[in-house]
């Protein structure tokens, strides 16, 4: 019996070896692990990173920012500009400036059922986006379009009611296939329920990218296969499976077992998990660390008396050794931020004030503001109140909790008593931050290249009862100068003047410190060594938009 068993073992080993991708298989399939499953595949309902990741392979937006953070056309032929005559500023009846922008859809663009992508789809998508009952999330883009003129089947002109510097960026305009979706929109209030992206997600006519969704196992995986009517350069893989595995330990185990080939950086391991993974198994994979636009910071509630004093805020940042935190916790892979603008961004200014670790100066500033070191090493003011602040972040986020402990320890040395009070994300973002019930809240802002910080820094965006607590300026930063800069930034077309405005905005932010800049988060891509062509963008546009560049290297 034992002998028979031992004879079987080599045969089993050979069978396993032959069935492994290195032998016989042409590597024409790819399985990607991500930590989230998309709730819907309708591109205009419910923003979700997992959905963007999957649809990156199946739908073409008109314009996106590429890996060099340059605006490019994907579905259009030419990026409109005032210089090439495709964008024409116009004077509006109310005395303001608007703009007419002309786009041409790529002539070879087809839906997966062979129907051409036409201006009929443009008009239908506009109709859906404009309808207040259609459940489209961010409808600002549609509100700004006052009308669309159709020139022919492929060319149309948007009439926009505001002339902004990024007029050509219609990244949110992802077309819906009118020829099969129109029936679902008969009752706009029911569109979110009846859209074919929900009821029939494998209908090939829903997709116009290099791949189409061919199978959806809800909560488990999405299978994509080449779109036979795609006229661009074809993708290498015959089948791509995007598998959702929420637990990152299980995600690692799946990667090691070969159940998945790679972990997407957009929705994968956190930086500390990836660093630990690299130490153990880095040799077997290609790891790419891509600093991105996710800006980790601490919002300070400027209505708190202690934090209303700018010198206290400066002392707090001088008392932090962010470089040391980055080195010790993130092996230096998480870039320290000077402001909300990423160094790769066109608006970045190197003249922004930088705060190096300087505990002596921090102590001097606190002394000057009346916070003197008292019994137990904690600072007190003349009224006997201790300099005691509550630091909050999302409970269960291991990386932030680690950082939080170091911050607490470093500020304790300055004489600032930090009480950590973490809350689940839904409580923190659903209740505490919008209602500004915090002293200091550590979380991240997600932005885009050259993203004007209206929602986070303009005084009109301070959440309050009047706006239904929907603003995102949770610090309560109220600066007429910042408001002016934001208003000017949005409409300044001259890149040189805009650069100067960006520099002023960063300088003002880093001087006033409504929030303490911490890091720009890095995405970690764990790729098999045989896969090439994956180029992380670092912005909100997923690598999968360039899936046709992904190839297998011999």
């Amino acid at each position: 019996m034992g002998q028979r068993g031992s004879r079987r073992l080599p045969a089993l080993a050979i069978a396993l070896l032959l069935s492994s991708p290195a032998f016989g298989d042409e590597r024409d399939s790819l399985t990607i692990g991500i930590t989230q499953f998309p709730s819907t595949l309708n591109p205009n309902i419910d923003a979700m990173a997992a959905k963007s990741y999957v649809l990156g392979m199946a739908l073409r937006p008109f314009t996106v920012y590429d890996a060099d953070w340059q605006l490019i056309c994907l579905l259009c032929v030419t990026l409109p500009s005032i210089e090439n005559g495709l964008a024409v500023p116009v004077d509006l009846a109310d005395g303001k400036k608007g703009i007419d922008i002309t786009y041409t859809i790529r002539p070879e663009a087809n839906w997966g059922d062979g129907a051409p992508v036409t201006t009929d789809d443009v008009l239908f998508t506009y109709e859906v986006g404009r309808d207040p009952k259609s459940a489209v999330g961010n409808a600002e883009f549609y509100r700004r379009i006052t009308g669309i003129d159709v020139k022919d089947e492929k060319t149309f002109t948007l009439h926009v009611d505001k002339l902004t510097f990024d007029y050509a960026a219609i990244n949110d305009f992802v077309l819906l296939p009118a020829h099969i979706e129109r029936a679902a929109f008969a009752d706009p209030a029911q569109y979110r329920v009846r859209t074919l992206y929900n009821t029939e997600p494998t209908n090939p006519g829903l997709y116009n990218g290099p791949y189409r969704v061919s199978e959806v196992a809800a909560g488990s995986y999405v299978l994509l296969e080449p779109n036979p009517h795609w006229a661009g350069s074809p993708g290498h893989f015959r089948r791509i499976t995007v598998r959702a595995i929420e637990n990152t330990a299980a995600l690692e185990a799946n990667l090691l077992s070969g159940t998945i080939d790679m972990v997407a950086g957009e929705l994968g391991l956190s930086l500390d998990e990836a660093l630990a993974f690299e130490k153990r198994h880095g040799d077997a994979f290609r790891m790419i660390y891509q600093p991105g636009l996710v800006y980790e910071h601490i919002d300070l509630n400027l209505d708190r008396p202690a934090l209303a004093d700018r010198r206290v805020r400066e002392a707090l940042i001088l008392g932090l050794d962010r470089e040391a935190i980055s080195k010790s916790l993130f092996a230096g892979r998480q870039k320290v931020a000077d402001s909300f603008v990423h160094p790769l961004d066109a608006g970045y200014s190197a003249d922004t004030p930088r705060y190096q670790y300087d505990p002596a100066r921090a102590a001097t500033l606190l002394d000057a503001t009346g916070w003197q070191v008292g019994p137990g090493g904690i600072r007190r003011n003349a009224a006997g109140q201790t300099l005691s602040l509550e630091l909050m972040t999302t409970a269960g986020n291991r990386t932030r909790e680690l950082v939080e402990q170091v911050l607490q320890s470093q500020w304790r040395k300055l004489g600032v008593d930090i009480r950590i009070k973490n809350e689940p994300a839904r409580v923190l973002f659903g209740e505490t931050v919008p209602h500004r019930r915090f002293d200091m809240a550590m979380y991240a802002w997600i932005s885009a290249p050259e993203n004007v910080p209206r929602s986070i820094l303009h005084s009109s965006e301070v959440p309050d009862a009047a706006n239904g607590f929907a603003g995102q300026n949770a610090a309560g930063f109220n600066s007429p100068e910042m408001d002016r800069l934001i208003d000017a930034l949005e409409i300044e077309l001259d890149p040189r003047k805009r650069k100067a405005l960006w520099a002023d905005a960063q300088r003002l932010y880093a001087t006033e410190l409504p929030s303490l800049p911490l890091f720009f988060r890095s995405d970690v891509f764990i790729l098999p060594k045989w896969l090439s062509g994956v180029r992380p963008t670092g912005n909100q546009y997923p690598t999968t938009l360039w899936i046709t560049d992904w190839t297998v290297q011999p």
């Binding site: 819907t40 459940a135 999330g137 809800a218 598998r243 659903g430 239904g468």
Partner: protein, 317 residues
């Protein structure tokens, strides 16, 4: 018995109605609503968009009015639409219910079968050489955190040996029974190992007590075989407390196993209920939790009826 069953069914209906209200209100009182959660994912959403979407999703109405609206539709047979799964509630729920019944049912019956064997063996000779290892095995199973056990099984059988898939319910693009079963092995093993200890302890205790009763001694004195004594005489009385435990466990068949499902990326009811509650998907959370409530209560009714069969002294009033 018919009168007893009818009264219990009415009680169940009232309890379900009260539970539906409590669950709806409790989810509604949690901080943040679905639109607040959407805004986190899309920071560019304006205040106007937030207000508009609250109207679209009916969240501008008072909580009680929303509940009454849901109840009216539910009584008419319309359980509503799941926002998280972008599908009618039943369409979102049924595949996961099937997955959970398969996973939980397999592990439940496997654990029960093994527990009966081990429990009886241990009870027959308490404190023997056999009883010690069985007890150790039981306590190990009860003490081991499920996520750790799951991870160990994945690392050994999927990563190390490569014999079994590490996650999911099937390989994408395939529909074979063998593939489906291979995906079940590790989660079923995890749940079985985690629950077998508890069941074995119950069976052991009940059987030990049953074997000490007078009628067992009489049966043995009358020359009944050991198998007949165990299976016919002792088992019947031992099954009464075990039935109670099993009835309570039935709710788990439809409420799933959150940790195991998460570790194995297995789309079952546990994960669905967790996601629905955390995502403020009222319709889905409500129906899923009520389903678990109804199952538990019906299983308890069945257990009460079974007591009469197991012990003729039990009467229904």
């Amino acid at each position: 018995m018919i009168r007893f069953s009818a009264i219990r069914l009415v009680e169940i209906a009232v309890t379900v109605l009260v539970m539906s209200f409590l669950i709806y209100v409790l989810i509604g009182l949690m901080p943040g609503d679905p639109i607040d959660l959407m805004r986190q994912a899309d920071p560019r959403m304006s205040a106007a968009d937030v207000a508009r979407l609250k109207v679209v999703y009916g969240l501008d109405q008072p909580l009680f009015a929303r509940y009454l609206g849901w109840l009216r539709l539910a009584l008419a047979g319309d359980l509503g639409y799941s926002r998280l799964f972008a599908a009618p509630v039943w369409s979102a729920l049924l595949p996961r219910l099937g997955n959970s019944l398969l996973l939980m049912g397999s592990s439940f019956f496997l654990a029960l079968a093994l527990a009966l064997g081990l429990g009886i063996a241990a009870a027959r000779r308490p404190n023997s050489r056999l009883d010690g290892p069985i007890n150790l095995f039981c306590f190990a199973g009860v003490s081991m955190p499920t996520f750790w056990l799951a991870l160990v099984l994945i690392l050994v059988f999927a990563t190390g040996l490569g014999w079994l898939p590490a996650s999911g319910i099937a390989t994408a693009g395939t529909s074979g029974l063998g593939d489906r079963l291979s995906h079940l092995v590790l989660p079923v093993a995890t749940l079985t190992l985690a629950s077998i200890g508890g069941y074995t302890r119950y069976v052991r205790a009940a059987m030990k007590e049953a074997l000490a009763q007078d009628h067992i001694r009489t049966a043995r004195a009358k020359g009944a075989s050991e198998a007949r004594v165990i299976l016919h005489h002792a088992m019947r009385s031992a099954l009464i407390p075990v039935t109670t435990i099993l009835a309570l466990s039935f709710g788990g068949l439809v409420s799933g196993a959150l940790v195991t499902e998460t570790m194995f990326a297995y789309p079952g009811m546990g994960k669905l209920i967790f996601d629905a509650v955390m995502g403020n998907d009222y319709n889905l959370a409500l129906v899923a939790l009520l389903l678990a409530t109804i199952t538990t209560m019906l299983a308890n009714l069945a257990a009460d009826l079974a007591y009469g069969w197991l012990d003729p002294r039990v009467s229904y009033r």
